[in-house]
Symmetry: C2
Subunit: 329 residues, 2 copies
């Protein structure tokens, strides 16, 4: 029925080993033999069975990518960076979506491991203890991008959220803002704590103190941004910092609906900088993460672990930029 390496060997009058060699680019094959085999492969339209190959070689040239929400532009931007580098190193990626569910995240990981992927990268997500422990005893190389876990035991790629937020906050404070709200989205406690600390540190340096009641929680979609506006308004915030662009846009629209001037009455800044920022009016100010690069560097890092190369820095910090567009003064 399906043509196997054995069929090719028979037709080409060589052994399976030889066919295997030409398949894998092993140089120890006489050019004419190689040609003969290649011809047969073409003629029979033979395609190696990756499953059998994986079982025999214990390598699948496949890496798993675990994404919290595939329909979030933040993650898909990261994924593109990953994909490009993976392709460059001849790895295929298989993406699985966890819908922000830590249980699914764990299941996905286990499922990838049972599929014998050569490595796994987590994008965002909030790895729980079980997952962390599964990772440890799976012995599969793992890299996490755009988030981090507290012990920094896992290789990761990030920007310095603390500094980024501190810089932005300082600027807000300097230009007269005084009530800076931060909308947590429960991405990763670790990461959001860094951000909180950044804000507080900026207040401290300015000789002021941050108002904890301005730390609010909201989902990461547009509607959540709209919904949380009332609360923002109650707290008389003059600046709103959000994790996701969508949330920021929701806030923005609600503010405009309430006849607030942007950025005079209220300023908005997000921490994502996805394509969305330029697709809304007014264009959204944002901390520009190098999303593509985070993904790309993450995958590169993973290839090093998969090839057992030595890595000098497991926790990579990439530079950020703050793009002040029309939603900030």
């Amino acid at each position: 029925m399906t043509v196997t390496i054995y069929d090719v060997a028979r037709e080409a009058k060589v052994s399976m080993a030889t066919v295997s060699r030409v398949l894998n680019g092993n140089p120890n094959v006489k050019p004419e033999t190689r040609k003969k085999v290649k011809d047969v492969i073409e003629r029979l339209n033979y395609r190696p069975n990756a499953v059998a190959r994986g079982l025999a070689s214990k390598k699948t040239t496949t890496v798993g990518v675990i994404i919290p929400d595939i329909s979030n532009l933040y993650y898909s931007a990261l994924a593109r960076g990953l994909d490009d580098i993976a392709e460059m190193y001849n790895y295929q990626t298989i993406i699985t979506n966890t819908e922000n569910d830590p249980e699914k995240e764990r299941d996905s990981f286990l499922s990838l491991v049972s599929k014998q992927v050569d490595g796994v990268v987590f994008l965002g997500g909030a790895l729980n203890e079980e997952t962390l422990s599964d990772i440890k005893d799976s012995h599969v190389p793992v890299v996490i991008c755009g988030t981090s876990e507290k012990d920094k035991n896992l290789p990761s790629v990030n920007i310095d959220y603390f500094e980024a937020i501190k810089e932005a906050t300082t600027k807000f404070l300097d230009t007269g803002a005084n009530r800076i709200a931060f909308l947590k989205a429960s991405y990763s406690d670790q990461l959001e704590n860094h951000i909180e600390e950044g804000i507080k540190s900026a207040y401290r340096d300015a000789g002021k103190s941050a108002d904890d009641s301005l730390i609010l929680t909201a989902g990461s979609d547009y509607q959540s941004g709209k919904d949380v506006f009332e609360e923002i308004s109650t707290h008389k915030a003059d600046v709103v910092i959000t994790m996701s662009d969508e949330t920021a846009i929701g806030v923005l629209h609600s503010a405009m609906d309430h006849d607030l001037g942007i950025p005079e009455d209220i300023q908005v800044l997000s921490c994502s900088n996805t394509r969305l920022v330029n697709m809304v009016r007014p264009p959204l100010s944002s901390i520009a993460l190098p999303l593509y690069d985070i993904g790309a560097v993450g995958m590169r890092l993973l290839t090093k672990y998969m090839n057992e190369e030595t890595v000098d820095e497991a926790n990579v910090i990439l530079p950020y930029k703050i793009e002040y567009r029309a939603t900030t003064k």
Copy 2:
């Protein structure tokens, strides 16, 4: 090193066959034996090797999903529908991104087949002849969602684009519009031809004739929409129909920048209805495809093929709705 089914068998003092049986829920195992085996599995933290399993059983309980552009909300909405149903039927999905490249599309398909997936679904995309022929001789069940190929040889899930566009066009014509531009995005010739025909048919029914010069081409991103505006303007279009929401938003913003009134001077309608439509001001009118459902029905259809159930209709047409929001009169 890694624990195998053999280790479990030894520890539980049964044969591997029995372990395999409990793994696969085979009823022919004495309850106490089953318990004994399960305990050992737990104790050793044994996880079956999916690759070995796939090789032996010739089934991988995995379906491949081929997406033209993972960062396009249109496709990710489809993907969620797919994913949910796949999970329901205990299939895992592995998503691969082709970046709108027909070559990559083909490679992805071949790669999935070599990985022995049980089925493949294509989202959008423009399957070329080679890919079509690969599909045919792969003997792997395939379903295509949100696009179609001319011979309708492949199972598919769609809406009736012809009717949808015709209905919209008729309404535009009835309410005084006269120069309806359509921006092709070279998704699928087949599909875009349906749309063209729908427009022409509406014109015909209204006793008018469509102006072919109003059929333009643009990319499917925001910037493409902005870029094509000049051309639209030259052709004095009073309605612009786009495939993607992003393109529509680009057109919208350009129009507003040129002080055109929306919808008085120019109306805009897209054919996607992703989350974006409500995230812009004014909210974008759109032909509302049941994106989630298209994905869900597509996966359900695929499960039927994979289980060799009989299907009564291979080319499913789902209902659409036209959401007239603020960018149309």
